[in-house]
């Protein structure tokens, strides 16, 4: 069994127990070991990179140091955390001068970034450690009548030069993993475009207009649900539908689920164990289609 240092980040433990519960249960059932470590902090995502890029790199490197000391690779659930940590990890591995500068900062905290570990998103762990064929064999439920609009969010894929996850213009890994569960991953307009989530708090009107486009495009394509990986995308599209209702007087009620939730359901884990009450848009519409 491969074990990883689980990097939870801020948003998932604060607001999305359904993400954490489903991910822990599904990954453990598939034989992936998850180790919780003390002393992790915020990953230093775009809002902190906006304030000071150098500080953000040092914070990301600190978190990687914690995993290096435990001799574990990192697995993330949130794609935002994946981006911050993988970007820093690869940038510092490739750029000795930057690594020296960051280590100068870290030395004051008694740490040194060595660059000996990998940062993986859990989709990569599923593909590499389990594989599509073994995943299919573990599915106990029938999802064949479910039409899914996959939405990976930006930071699983981009910036591709540093993240190296999948083709940024024609990605397939996420859709392959959805279809391995038996569901149909459908095409919809502007599938790879941003949800606007990072503008929440600074320009709510703009963020909501972008999210509304995503909701309209997935609905028009006939999706039963939107499947996400990033907690900000989830919030923007799930809670966002309540805001769209009050602002635009439009009602869509399209369920938004994290991939780990769909995976858990496909593996036969009881929805009651998955904290699904944290969804604003109820899941009845899809639960009825998973038999």
């Amino acid at each position: 069994m491969t074990s990883y240092a689980l990097f939870l980040g801020c948003t998932i433990p604060a607001r999305q127990p359904h993400y954490e519960a489903s991910a822990r249960k599904a990954l453990t059932r598939l034989g992936i070991g998850l180790v919780d470590l003390d002393n992790m902090t915020c990953c230093a995502p775009p809002p902190l990179q906006s304030i000071d890029t150098e500080t953000s790199l040092a914070i990301a490197a600190h978190n990687i140091c914690v995993a290096e000391q435990a001799d574990l690779d990192i697995v993330t659930l949130c794609t935002g955390c994946f981006e911050s940590l993988a970007m820093a990890n690869n940038l510092l591995k490739e750029n000795p001068k930057l690594k020296a500068r960051v280590n100068e900062i870290l030395s004051n905290a008694g740490e040194e970034f060595k660059g000996t570990k990998e940062v993986k998103h859990y989709l990569k762990v599923l593909i590499e450690d389990i594989g599509l064929e073994r995943l299919k064999k573990n599915v106990t439920k029938d999802l064949s009548s479910l039409k899914v609009a996959s939405f990976s969010g930006c930071h699983l894929l981009r910036p591709s030069a540093l993240l190296k996850f999948d083709d940024p213009e024609r990605p397939h890994v996420f859709d392959d993993l959805i279809e391995a569960l038996g569901a149909k991953s459908i095409w919809y307009r502007n599938k790879l475009k941003c949800c606007g989530g990072l503008l929440r708090g600074y320009a709510d009107d703009v963020a909501l207009a972008i999210a509304r486009d995503k909701i309209i495009n997935t609905t028009k394509a006939g999706a039963d649900c939107i499947v996400t990986l990033c907690p900000f995308c989830f919030l923007t599209l799930d809670l966002g539908q309540m805001l769209i209702k009050s602002t635009y007087k439009e009602e869509y009620n399209i369920p938004v689920v994290h991939y780990s939730e769909l995976l858990s359901l496909a593996l036969g884990i009881d929805p009651k164990e998955l904290a699904i009450d944290f969804h604003k848009v109820r899941l009845d519409r899809i639960l009825g289609k998973i038999t």
Binding site: R24, C42, D52, I59, L98, N190, C194, L198, L199
Partner: protein, 177 residues
């Protein structure tokens, strides 16, 4: 964030009349700005420019190259990039546009242009080691969902990092409205 040798070159020719463009090019992430030839691929790839006229990445780059420092740093445009990196993936000149925007934001913060929400992020980080605070309600309910107790955040190391880079000395707005 490439162009280490270009950065060194920039340092050598640094003079007292350093321009705004020079200032951006010397920054981590800002190195590629002058490669822009204003084709507009960024603007047509941008999800924000699609829904509002308040942001257009090509305009931000153009105004910066035209040395409109105050207009760029004091305006709202640089804060309206959603960091999706679509523009950066597609730029035929390999301008690292999203990273240039980060460089501009870093400069804006240094010059005291700090949107309120960013002070909130900074305060959350400095106080709890997280930018989204954990509610006691959700933390108490963790066992109900079969979740282990949360591990402690690495505040001690974080505080030393923030003190070393000067992050904790930025004039953040106090918490509250």
């Amino acid at each position: 964030m490439e162009g280490e040798s270009r950065m060194e070159h920039e340092k050598e020719r640094e003079t007292s009349e350093a321009t705004f463009t020079d200032e951006i090019r010397r920054r981590l992430g800002g190195e590629t700005i002058a490669l822009c030839y204003q084709c507009g691929t960024c603007a047509s790839s941008c999800p924000v420019a699609k829904v509002t006229e308040r942001y257009n990445p090509r305009d931000v780059i153009r105004l910066s190259l035209l040395e409109q420092k105050k207009e760029v740093l004091s305006g709202s445009a640089i804060w309206l990039c959603s960091s999706c990196y679509n523009c950066q993936e597609r730029c035929p000149q390999k301008v690292e546009i999203a990273d240039v925007i980060y460089a501009l934001r870093n400069i804006a913060i240094e010059e005291g242009y700090i949107p309120n929400i960013y002070s909130e992020f900074a305060n959350g980080l400095m106080n709890e080691g997280r930018i989204v605070p954990i509610s006691k309600f959700v933390e108490k309910k963790r066992p109900e969902y079969g979740l282990p107790q949360l591990r402690t955040a690495g505040l001690a190391a974080l505080k030393k990092i923030l003190a070393t880079t000067g992050f904790d000395k930025i004039q953040w707005k106090k918490e509250g409205p």
